[in-house]
Symmetry: C3
Subunit: 345 residues, 3 copies
């Protein structure tokens, strides 16, 4: 792995940052973060999944973040915490590279409408375009070639990566990250049929996005038809996701890659949609629903839990036979009923 950063911390500094209990040499200097297996003598590692406990004894790491209970088994200095995976998450930010391209201030090639209002310490990359009446909070960073449409508002510490596009009137909370190629506020897919062809319905609603949301690369979130499409707080959306007009996503929900949600569907809080999941339109999923990968949901769900559809994969030769039988399944079921009747006669 290429490293471009040259951060270095005392183990005591990391302990403080993680609110961890330090076991061992507080003055140890830590220069990187790695897995138990890959860590070298200047790296800190972590043990978040006990399946990897066997790697602990032989680690070459300088120190390890792990659960308090396991500190006694750690052969090197340790940071004891309650939630080591969270510890890893916190630790990771200490080692993020400082990219030169994020230090450009307002690049002279950016085109910024005179009516836009920019907060303190805003960064705007080369060739970015900021529309009329836009309001950017403090420390907002707009990547190269990104476009922020008229009347958009982005809260403090927002980050648009290069080439992201916001249509007009998109409202974004604080600490939101939008990855490259994502498009927010495009027209919802609304047409009226006159019997012979389609008439476009102007999409007059907006998109409102909460705080602490992350939106993956090449993801589309369409604007509402009349009301707004709404993404709650702390919602995490992966790449290649399609969110149609008037969809609502509840707080703390997570959508994996390639999810597609049709119009006006409402997803509750703390829901998780696996990769490639499809939700039909006008459904309501209650809080705490978990849908496994590539399942299609065509009815509302009113009880939390795990839901699935589809068939497992199998060798194609076997699958072909079974798939043929699936087309006969109702008929097969009727034949079972018939056999049962005769049997009990």
């Amino acid at each position: 792995m290429t490293r471009y950063s040259s951060h270095s911390y005392l183990l005591s500094e990391l302990a403080e940052g993680l609110n961890a209990t330090l076991y061992g040499d507080a003055e140890l200097r830590i220069e990187g973060l790695a897995t138990l297996v890959d860590a070298g003598p200047a790296d800190i590692a972590f043990l978040a999944n006990r399946a990897y406990l066997g790697d602990l004894a032989n680690t070459r790491a300088a120190a390890v973040v792990l659960h308090h209970e396991l500190v006694s088994q750690c052969p090197v200095p340790a940071l004891g915490v309650d939630n080591p995976y969270l510890g890893y998450a916190q630790l990771s930010h200490f080692f993020e590279p400082e990219l030169p391209s994020r230090r450009c201030g307002i690049h002279p090639t950016a085109v910024i409408d005179d009516s836009a209002r920019l907060g303190a310490d805003v960064t705007i990359g080369p060739h970015a375009v900021i529309g009329a009446e836009v309001v950017l909070g403090d420390r907002v960073s707009i990547g190269a070639n990104a476009v922020v449409g008229d009347y958009c508002r982005i809260g403090d510490d927002g980050l648009l990566h290069p080439g992201a596009v916001l249509y007009h009137g998109v409202v974004i909370g604080q600490r939101v990250i939008v990855h490259s190629g994502a498009v927010i506020g495009g027209d919802g897919f609304g047409f009226a049929h006159d019997g012979s062809g389609w008439h476009k319905i102007a999409q007059l609603g907006g998109v409102v996005i909460g705080d602490d949301v992350e939106i993956g690369s090449c993801t589309s979130i369409d604007r509402g038809a009349l009301d707004d499409t709404r993404i709650g707080n702390d919602v995490k959306i992966d790449s290649q996701v399609q969110i149609a007009h008037n969809v609502h996503i509840g707080d703390h929900s997570a959508l994996a890659g390639c999810v597609g949600i049709a119009g006006s569907t409402q997803v509750g809080r703390h829901c998780q949609l696996g990769g490639g999941v499809g939700l039909a339109g006008h459904l309501t999923l209650c809080d705490g629903v978990n849908v496994t990968g590539m399942s299609l949901v065509t009815n509302s769900i009113d009880a939390p839990g795990v839901y699935s559809s589809g068939t497992g994969s199998m060798p194609n030769a076997l699958w072909r036979k079974n798939a043929v039988r699936f087309k006969q399944l109702d008929e097969l079921a009727r034949r079972i009923v018939r056999l049962e009747r005769r049997d009990s006669a």
Copy 2:
């Protein structure tokens, strides 16, 4: 919902625009469009689905667009029409915001090849790039950071949203809308295998798009291998769609989000593909085929109608048991046959 426009119309103007019969005060001033439930006293609402008939009596709307037959039940001034959903579509365009960024003329930062020919009243946004020999019709609008490749032609009233990309030689009809992040004319996925690895096949065909087409955000339409990929008139394509090389889509068809169509498949006229539908390559779908969401079609379809594949979703615990049985389905069917034989023996 945020509003950025300040349109206002007399009810008589809207009646004329919709070719509707006006019941009530022609001088009423209408400032917005909303649902029956949300409309305020300056808004016009609509009743397109009789499921919402119960909302009519209590609406606070200034006026309502609805079917002639229902005018007598409308407590406020009404516009009577034959197709209220079409009425809503027509009405929506009266309330579209006029965006400052669409009034930029030819932005000085746009890079336009000297050989490009621009029609009257063309708008080209900041940092857009227009290639050699491009022809843009009247009133074409090219968004910020969009790229129009060499030899492309866009008909009158075309609209490319920010960041859309046309490769070279894409031919687009009149009144076509291309949303941000869409890529038209990228290379089809064509390779020859020499027994050990792949050799690229240069994609020498083009893309030809009819009139009144809309193409969603982050959608890909690949250029043909030798001939052209063809999208008919009045075809509506949602976001995150993949259309491979040499595909033909017939007039008036609609493709919902996340559809994928493999190479050389031909889709008829007036077809509808639900979200996430996949069509294998080299198929022919006749006119009037409707495929429900996330179905996979691997054979040609020669009769209009509704087609589906997959299983419904269910609680994961139940699904696991059923999915295991699916792998045994052919064997189960044979066991039914055996039972029937014995039974009838």
Copy 3:
């Protein structure tokens, strides 16, 4: 089909380029490439699939590339080869248009960091942005509005189409093609849950891409969490594909459109994933695995071969009945067992 190129070759030149045996007039002048059916008297055609053998007798082509064995059946001059589809692939590159926009050198509107190192004959299009410490090999071509992040390296003859985005530190081999809208190096989807909400895990790994790779439009390849996401040599990736963090793809594998691969999954060499295939996370697919379109794979595969999941499509009325029965499938199977027990009692 629109043609923008005016190439012309002697048949002998093409024979030499394909290492083919020439039968007939070496001085024939060839101006285009087309199918047997569409070829005109200045075109060369090819016969790669014997299903089209019937078109050979009536072709108007000037010459035909075909298998040595079939030369005697060819009514016009011929180029005899062992692998005519490969011959077509090789031939196609003779007829690629030379686009004016690729002859721009370093466009004056491109923003190139002073620390970037550019090889010989590099082309950088309008408004492209090249970050700090970037290294571009000889003959690299960066399209309009593309963005190359800090510390990226692109090998000789690399081609980024307009609007493609590389985040920082992406390492790309030689002769790699990245299509428009593709995003390489975006953050992997990694979050730790603290019991109430999500904490982002900084994605500190990179993306390493081999030689001769092609990456389709609007495709996402995420950077690794700690280690790198790795794409082998001669891997071909279609449009709308999602490749999550820490995925490895082996040499010579091909991924069709809309494929989604979850985190840390390893795909072997010479694998083929059909359109819309989904691979769950942390799987290993051995070399030579072929997964048919829209299948979901949730377990590792350790034997080469063809794998599938799902059901075939059918008329919706039939499908509805069968889908209901699928939910009863385990129960139906138990009833078969019961019948068998009674039957044998």
